[in-house]
Amino acid sequence: MTQKPHTIEVGDGAAIPLKSDKGLFTAWRLAFVGALATLTWLAFTRPDPYMKIITFVPDGILVTFKVTVGAILLALIIGLITGLGRISSNRFINGLASLYVEVIRGIPLLVQIFYIYYALGRIIKVPDILSAIIAMAVCYGAYMGEVFRAGIQSIPKGQAEAALSLGMTRSQTMWHVILPQAFRVVLPPVGNEFIALLKDSSLVSILAVADLLRRGREFASESFTYFETYTVIALIYLILTLFFSKIIGIMEERINVDR
């Protein structure tokens, strides 16, 4: 009897192409190559405004990247703590974690971002990009918490029993036996969340954080080339999400190879 890793179904989020999924893999190639080709073609055939736009926004891509990576790392930590809290037998901790998840899930992301950004500004004067990262992480931490909870609960009970019967404490069991296995199970949904976060990070442009979208909006509002600018912005976002979903797909395949 081999123990197969359980998988978690997560509804939304970007599709992650695996080599085994032929349809999606082909679609990925088509979209990625198509987007790159379109962008290049536009830049060389109509340098004004396309080349101008492409040279205007790179620092915005960097900010988008910073916000996404920062938020996902922080969200992973918050999510792990929340997930552990949600399965805790301690009523207070469990209640607190559940309350956090319920409250966050009940408020639109955009509203939370506004709220946390300006609340942080009023209370502890946190710089803008960090505020944006915290705002995104607080939100995604709740979703991540549910992913971790599901991941931990997907590990068969016998694993914990085996560890406990060897004399391990509960925390040793969690740390050495349950979490390493759970991490593997949560990787695909965490990958999904990462892509979703990359896209949702465009919401921080509302906070005057100079991300990819805001750089585009700035360019458009000055040059009045709305259609052209948003074409470029959309293509860049598409290339970014496709690129990262591919990387996540490769990571997933690596992990699924043996064991």
Partner: protein, 248 residues
């Protein structure tokens, strides 16, 4: 046989366990002496696994007392992990850690719980793997092993902790028939070395050959308690007779 001077490893008194309304254990008492091999048999749902699992408190009991290796499991001062360090357990479904190699399965608790240096733990692990005949699988992941091999690794993993008592919860029930023998052989070797063992099993041949004492359970209660000769040749209770007639 005189048991007066022998240490008592397990002392269960009037143990009661409920699953909701269902009474899984009904005033069960059990004494296991050091070096003794006790085999618990009975139809499914008779409470034999529940009794076994309550010995290292994987199951909480609702009444009675349980003293293992001199430690009262329900004394708030008792450190449960200290009890479990001394009590090995082998499961029906092996429960090897799939994310670790066979060798790491054997060294993990040694280093984490016993705080042995890595070198010492590895030596011990290799010795035990050789003992169960799986030296060449040390660096494999459990998923690549057959069921019989996995169960032998699981036994070695428990032995790595130098337990004073070994619990076996239907160790061969999930195995293909041709693999049962290799696991039973390892268990027999262990018995001959003098390990204290409590075994829940349907393997009557094993019970007959190895057991000092056979316990027959039905409906959460101990129905028969005696030597294998007595149990297999002349059971007193009707239900035991019926069970034997079905299984033999």
């Amino acid at each position: 046989m005189s048991t007066g001077e022998r240490r008592t490893m397990v002392q269960a008194r009037d143990v009661v366990k409920f699953y909701g309304q269902f009474k899984a254990l009904d005033r069960v008492s059990l004494t296991v002496y050091e070096g003794e091999k006790v085999v618990i048999i009975g139809p499914s749902g008779s409470g034999k696994s529940t009794l076994l699992r309550s010995i290292n408190r994987l199951e909480n009991i609702d009444g009675g007392s349980m003293v293992v290796n001199g430690m009262d499991l329900y004394d708030p001062k008792t450190d449960l992990t200290k009890v479990r360090e001394e009590v090995g357990m082998v499961f029906q479904s092996f429960n090897l850690f799939p994310h670790r190699t066979v060798l790491e399965n054997l060294t993990m608790a040694q280093t984490v719980v016993r705080r042995r240096p890595k070198k010492e733990a590895t030596e011990k692990a290799r010795y035990l793997l050789e003992k169960v005949g799986l030296s060449e699988k040390a660096d494999a992941y459990p998923g690549k092993l057959s069921g019989g091999q996995q169960q032998r690794v699981a036994i070695a993993r428990s032995l790595a902790m130098d337990p004073k008592l070994m619990l076996f919860d239907e160790p061969t029930s999930a195995l293909d028939p041709e693999m049962i023998g290799e696991v039973l052989d390892v268990m027999k070797d262990l018995a001959h070395e003098g390990m204290t063992m409590v075994v829940v099993t349907h393997e009557m041949g094993f019970a007959r050959e190895v057991a000092d004492k056979v316990i027959f359970m039905d409906h959460g209660a101990v129905v028969e308690d005696g030597t294998p000769e007595h149990f297999f040749t002349n059971p007193t209770h009707e239900r035991a007779k019926l069970f034997l007639s079905q299984i033999l």
